[in-house]
Amino acid sequence: MSQNIRFVQGNEACVEGALYAGLNFFAGYPITPSTEIAELLSSLLPKFGGKFIQMEDEIASMCAIIGASLTGCKVMTATSGPGFSLKQEALGYAVMAEIPCVIVNVQRGGPSTGIPTHVHQGDVNQARWGTHGDHAIVALTASNHQDVFAMTVEAFNIAETYRTPVILLFDEVVGHMREPLVLPEPGEIPIVDRLRTSVKQGVNYHPYLAREDGRLPMSDFGGVHRYNVTGLYHDMWGFPSDEPRVIHELLRHLMDKIENRTNELARFKEFYTEDAECLLISYGSSARSAREVVEKQRQRGERFGLLELQTIWPFPYDLVRQKAAGARIIVVVEMNTGQLCQSVRLAVDRPERVFLANRVDGVFISPEDIRKTLRLIQGKGV
């Protein structure tokens, strides 16, 4: 165990995780409440020979990291709601062209400019469906700084393994709160580097011809293999195609490579779920208050449990159904009007058991807020 303990903001924990994972190119644009990530990386990346660039806008920073990923870099950008909206176009490009990249969204209140300095978790569904067209996506969250660090490393590992953009859906409370972070030693958490082609120079390399295991080995731009990358439907050469068979197979591939691995990609934490009569389901900073409620109720002998989801997308339907099977009441705790609650209702048997405990006024949801909702559900009044 490392003795390197730091007292940091969540945004700093994210930066530390990214550097641990091998980040060497970051492009960003200033936006509250994620700006500290860009500020810190402008200072830290060049110390390691990495590159930081502040682009002219959010769109450009998303585009720039895709360009840098193609030359072989591990790349990231960071933003918040309005910037996340602007990044959706190029995020879809990264899905289509299968470019590994990590997008941090430190959520604030929306819609529109909303409330920049206050917490919300309103981008859950935008993370899933923000860019146009059918696609699959991976989105991870965290409720404390140790997990911010770990999930950031995970995000890079998943992005590089499956050649996909991965969204880190943090929130203003986690981003700005300070708490201790134990920095793992090098090697303590496994780091995944992308699979590179073993095809030799002079032999045809097909950038979009999957191996038997479904993976697509990459070749860095500037290397010996010259190929085309496009956001259009494309064949195994990366060349645009409008053949129905090519379109169908590529879309299926893009969906299946993520959704067929839903259980494999499901990261979560659980507290007293085995015998929970009342199961709270939460994620991000709101899971902290949910945890507090569960601990207090347990002390009073009440069978409360918490399922904290760290992978939000692809939504772990099987996991949620299993963990919720024995619960009489399921309460989803989140700071929006019920975005993840919808998915929980779809996942569980007898969805009439599912209730929402939320807060949407920019104020962090407290254990007392959750308890009030619980009293209402239990018919005890407020």
């Binding site: 200072s43 110390k47 660039i53 002219e56 450009a60 720039a64 360009g67 790349v75 731009f221 085309n228």
Partner: protein, 267 residues
């Protein structure tokens, strides 16, 4: 090498209409690269969306066909992460200066060593002939049936004002000059902008009664003149061709290398 060694024959025939100027520019570009003898694996070509953008796919370089207007933003990521690569960005007029206008001026301001080519046919061809920021006042387009009331940009003046350190203009008619200018642009250490007037007989030519491709090429000969020529003095309406700006400013990637040096030394 032969011209055909630079193209991906597998993907031909190309999608451009008969008479389109973009093929001439493709030819001029290949000859420029051939004269410079840059290895194909040292070139990354990044393009956006539109007729012009398809040029990348036909060439045997590392090619990145991106989003409408965003080519320079992607190219900036490529270049900054691997400064030793030659990055060439062919764009259309709408691509570069309407939806991509912000990326265009900021890439110029940064003076990053990228060669930006604006293949200016004054129209959105792929979507069927809508006016672009370079169509000009009084032209006809499928979205300007009563004539266009949008004023135009002067690409050269815009690029120079935005900070590009090499700015030039030529036309598809003057393909020898295109080749020479592109060579110099690619060698230039900084952000270079080359506007190449191109003909779209299918839309711009037809809607504006400019005749066929040959007529349009002849028009380019007539309405342009070398920079500082006598003809320009006599007829200020003429459009000048040649290199307008050659200047030295710190190149972005080199400047960032200094940042890395200072960061490592803790200064």
């Amino acid at each position: 090498m032969a011209v055909k060694d630079y193209i991906r024959e597998r993907f031909f025939p190309h999608i451009w209409c008969a008479g389109c100027g973009h093929g001439i520019i493709l030819n001029g570009l290949i000859r420029a690269i051939d004269k410079l003898q840059i290895p194909k694996s040292d070139i990354v070509m990044v393009s956006g969306i539109g007729c012009s953008a398809r040029i990348a796919g036909y060439l045997d370089f590392h090619t990145l066909h991106t989003l409408h207007g965003r080519a320079l933003a992607f190219a900036t990521g490529v270049k900054l992460s691997r400064p030793e690569l030659n990055v060439i960005v062919p764009m259309g007029d709408g691509d570069a200066l309407a939806i991509g206008g912000n990326h265009f001026i900021h890439a110029a301001r940064r003076n990053i060593n990228i060669t930006a080519i604006v293949m200016n046919n004054r129209i959105y061809g792929m979507t069927g002939g809508q006016f672009s920021p370079l169509s000009g006042y009084g032209t006809l387009a499928s979205t300007a049936p009563y004539t266009n009331v949008d004023q135009t940009f002067d690409v050269v003046a815009l690029a120079a004002a935005a900070g590009a350190t090499f700015v030039a203009r030529s036309t598809a008619y003057h393909v020898q000059q295109v080749t020479e200018i592109l060579q110099e642009a690619i060698l230039h250490n900084g952000f270079s902008v080359v506007e190449i007037m191109s003909q779209c007989p299918t839309y711009f030519g037809r809607k504006n009664r400019q005749g066929d491709a040959v007529d349009m090429l002849k028009t380019m000969q007539k309405i342009t003149t070398p920079i500082g020529s006598k003809a320009k003095e006599q007829n200020p309406e003429l459009i000048e061709r040649g290199v307008f700006v050659r200047r030295e400013l710190p190149e972005y990637c080199a400047a960032y290398d200094n940042v890395i040096q200072r960061a490592k030394e803790g200064k």
